[in-house]
């Protein structure tokens, strides 16, 4: 009995190690979206002030073309980091990017775009508590969704879009969907 007690540390460690082995094949940052391959939630979001009539974002706007939907807010620091890259993607003209200004003061959201550049075709506002973002399953900003021609959500990227994730993950999916 006493000898078994001495085996306890190695046994506990063995169990932890097994979990680590499993953990190496999981990605803790990847939160599965229950909405993958489901239609974009019903929405009809008002435009940002000063961005013109009919520039808001509605469900119907996401049909017919592969597009990106990017969740941002003027309060979001990581958004500042990804934003210049979104502007670059816009210049390449591969895919339209739409924005959702989430849990934000719309005036702030508009000013933020003036300051950091505006890569969006359409921007809808989703002020606090942010019902539309909840329908999208958003966990934080920034997040970027790939929506296909039929208006189905096909991919969700959590965190800033970087050149690396763009080249390795997002662009291949967009190309595939565009075929």
């Amino acid at each position: 009995m006493r000898r078994l007690l001495y085996l306890l540390p190695v046994a506990v460690f063995g169990i932890i190690a097994l979990f680590f082995l499993r953990g190496l094949t999981l990605n803790p940052r990847e939160i599965p979206s229950v909405l993958i391959n489901r239609p974009v939630p019903e929405m009809n979001l008002a435009p940002l002030p000063g961005r013109g009539e009919n520039t808001g974002l509605a469900t119907a706007d996401l049909k017919g073309r592969v597009s990106l939907v990017n969740i941002y807010g003027s309060w979001c620091i990581a958004c500042v980091q990804e934003h210049p890259y979104l502007v670059q993607i816009k210049k390449q003209g591969i895919v339209p990017i739409h924005g959702i200004d989430w849990r934000d003061d719309p005036v702030e959201g508009a000013k933020w775009l003036q300051k950091h550049g505006d890569p969006y075709d359409r921007v809808g506002i989703d002020p606090a508590p942010g019902r539309t973002a909840v329908d999208f399953g958003v966990t934080g900003a920034p997040e970027t969704f790939i929506v296909d021609k039929a208006g189905l959500i096909r991919y969700k990227h959590i965190g800033p879009v970087t050149p690396e994730t763009w080249d390795k993950v997002l662009l291949p999916i967009i190309k595939e969907l565009n075929k």
């Binding site: 006493r2 000898r3 001495y6 085996l7 540390p9 190695v10 460690f13 063995g14 932890i16 190690a17 979990f19 680590f20 082995l21 499993r22 953990g23 190496l24 094949t25 999981l26 990605n27 803790p28 940052r29 939160i31 003027s74 620091i77 500042v80 980091q81 210049p84 003061d105 005036v107 702030e108 000013k111």
Partner: protein, 663 residues
């Protein structure tokens, strides 16, 4: 060319480490003195070779040699020199090289100071140390070469994460690693003792100072990281129970327990197999921390860029090192001779209680840290475990510990007198209770959190308990004061060390309680000229100007702060935008007073023409830093005790004359 020399030196070091890991071990089991003695020159050769390699990487950083990929990815010519140097360990590959360099230094220290060590124990311990080195050298050479070249070299590098460009953080990793790797010493000697099947006072006398040194470094490293989080991240807090913070805290808890149980081994020849287990655990948790940061199994703000191949490799290393050691422990520990017996109510008993609570504490932190992984692996969904779990599980465990810390030192070895100890602590208990009640009343009863009163009471209990013990030792009030002072002067430094560290913890607890319970915070949009009052301090925003730094631009706010109408300070927090890599950081302005920190952060311009400002009053924060400094200082004082001096141990009558205590 220099980078290739560095790379080559690492390969040579691997060859040397392989020799050191095997030949002396075989020599020790065959009683071959020549083979055993090989551990000396090999550990010297290792420190030289790995030192050359480290110097080569340092050279590449200092001269901004962007043909080295690691430099190109993490440095930039505009970076101040301090951060070019600190950039060496600001990334995965470089920090690993620093890890190995420190490991080699510790191995060399055994050779340098361990002349009095029994040759068998020494050569076995050095062989174990070399096995760890082999593992890490293979890791760096096979998966994370810091000397890989880049063709063609870029004109400039991509810079170091601006959050890391800070003096506090420049020295955080080296100190932390000195602590982590310092526990390798206790580990190697524990394994060597298991192989020998013998743990005795000489063993403990050797392991104790090294563990203490590692503990001092680790305490400094954690405190520096926490201080950095406090003034750099700009959220007014200092600890978030982030997985990587936990990764450094768990070895600290195990190391603290080890420190105390090694005392029992040395003085009373008891708790041997428990001490060995702690020695393995302390270093095992250090390795685990390395795994967590570099494998990507846990998300954290600190994590390095991850790569599955690296994860698999470190996991393998972890299984061999920790799994192997625990297995050896399971096989050999039952054969260790048990020494002195003791009654449950005794100094040994109190130290054991402290150990059990520390170990349970480390266990709960481990559980909380790994729980998201467990849940994910078992398909229970994605969860994150945050401060509420740790605060409600870990902190209550520390209450009995602090209570026992007051009593334990007053108990005698072998069989203690609990009633006697308690009667001597009467004053401490009464004052602690009064302080708790006064705290409760002063915070307006249930207007403040209930635990604030408990925390302040505990702090006073610990402080007075520690002072009571000091008074007992000097027989204060029982003999003339002059005689007490004389006794005070004659106290061994180890006793001073304990008094200082325990009192330091008391000061820390007071600071921690106050800053968590009574923090005053105000977030608003503030126009130029507008005044906001926080905790009696009136902040008037005077200007917000753009200023230019060496590699950033910043908007700097200027607050004039008055208290009760009188001028208090001019505070200038900044919001910086670094150029390379582009990233914003906040630089809080902090004015420290004895009673609390006045803390200001300036943010972006808001739509109404003002600026977002965050103003805090954080009570007694400086007490936390001061308490930690006392703990570190106490550790150093204890280290300077003649009996603990590194190299002092002798395995008394058998090998060396008993009087040769000096190294």
């Amino acid at each position: 060319m220099i980078a290739e020399i560095g790379h080559f030196a690492l390969i040579l070091a691997l060859a040397v480490a392989l020799v050191q890991a095997t030949i002396p071990l075989i020599g020790a089991s065959r009683g071959n003195a020549t083979w055993m003695a090989l551990s000396g020159p090999t550990s010297t050769a290792q420190v030289l070779l790995i030192g050359i390699s480290f110097a080569a990487l340092m050279h590449a950083y200092v001269t901004s040699d962007f043909s080295v990929m690691n430099v190109a990815q993490n440095s930039h010519t505009d970076k101040p020199m301090l951060y070019k140097v600190a950039g060496v360990w600001g990334n995965h590959e470089g920090s690993l090289l620093l890890w190995i360099t420190i490991l080699a230094l510790f191995g060399f220290a055994v050779t340098l100071f361990g002349r009095n060590l029994p040759p068998g124990l020494k050569s076995r311990a050095l062989a174990v140390q070399a096995m760890i080195t082999v593992g890490f050298l293979l890791f760096i050479l096979l998966t994370s070469n810091p000397f890989a070249r880049l063709e063609p070299p870029p004109i400039n590098g991509s810079g170091l994460n601006p959050l890391l460009q800070d003096p506090g953080l420049a020295f955080h990793p080296p100190l932390l690693y000195l602590g982590y790797v310092g526990f390798s010493m206790a580990f190697s000697f524990a394994i060597a003792a298991l192989i020998e099947g013998r743990v005795d006072a000489a063993w403990a006398r050797w392991v104790r100072p090294w563990t203490l040194a590692a503990w001092v470094f680790l305490t400094c490293g954690i405190a520096l990281g926490s201080w950095w989080a406090y003034y750099e991240l700009g959220w007014g807090g200092w600890w978030y129970w982030d997985p990587v913070e936990n990764a450094s805290f768990m070895p600290w808890l195990a190391g603290t327990a080890l420190l105390h149980s090694a005392v029992v081994v040395e003085k009373r020849d008891a708790l041997k197999s428990w001490t060995i287990l702690l020695a393995i655990t302390a270093f095992g948790l250090s390795l685990l921390g390395t795994f967590l940061v570099r494998s990507g199994v846990i998300t954290s703000v600190h994590a390095f860029a991850t790569d599955p191949a690296r994860g698999v490799f470190i996991l393998g290393l972890l299984v061999v090192a920790i799994g192997g050691s625990f297995l050896l422990y399971a096989l050999r520990a039952p054969t260790l001779k048990t020494g002195g017996l003791f009654a449950p109510l005794s100094r040994e008993g109190a130290l054991l209680l402290n150990n059990v609570l520390m170990a349970t504490g480390a266990g709960t932190v481990l559980l909380g840290t790994l729980y998201p992984l467990f849940a994910d692996a078992l398909d229970l969904g994605k969860v994150s475990v945050g401060p509420p779990f740790f605060n409600s599980v870990f902190l209550p465990l520390m209450v009995p510990m602090v209570l026992a810390m007051g009593i334990g030192p007053l108990m005698s070895w072998k069989r203690g007198d609990l009633a006697g100890a308690l009667s001597r602590l009467k004053v401490a208990a009464i004052v602690a209770l009064i302080v708790a009640i006064v705290t409760w009343v002063a915070q307006g009863g249930s207007l403040g959190p209930w635990w604030a009163a408990a925390g302040m009471g505990l702090a006073v209990w610990l402080l007075l308990g520690t002072l009571t013990e000091l008074a007992e030792r000097t027989r204060l009030f029982r003999v003339p004061v002059g005689q007490s002072l004389l006794r005070l002067g004659k106290l061994p430094r180890a006793a001073w060390g304990m008094t200082l560290t325990h009192a330091g913890l008391a000061v820390f607890i007071a600071g921690m309680t106050a800053s968590s319970a009574w923090k005053v915070e105000s977030v608003q949009s503030q126009k130029i000229g507008e005044t906001v009052t926080v905790a009696g301090y009136a902040f008037t925003l005077k200007t917000v100007q753009d200023v230019q730094g060496p590699n950033y631009i910043a908007s700097r706010g200027t607050f004039e702060v008055t208290k009760d109408g009188a001028h208090f300070a001019v505070m200038q927090p900044q919001k910086r935008s670094y150029k390379m890599p582009p990233m914003p950081t906040t630089e809080a302005a902090i004015e420290t007073t004895f009673l609390g920190d006045v803390y200001a952060v300036v943010g972006d311009a808001s739509s109404d023409g003002g600026y977002v400002t965050r103003l805090y009053f954080n009570p007694l924060v400086v007490w936390m830093w001061f308490g930690t400094a006392m703990m570190v200082f106490g550790g150093l004082v204890s280290l300077s005790d003649r009996r603990h001096r590194i190299g002092a141990p002798t395995r008394a009558p058998t090998h060396v004359p008993a009087n040769s205590v000096k190294a």
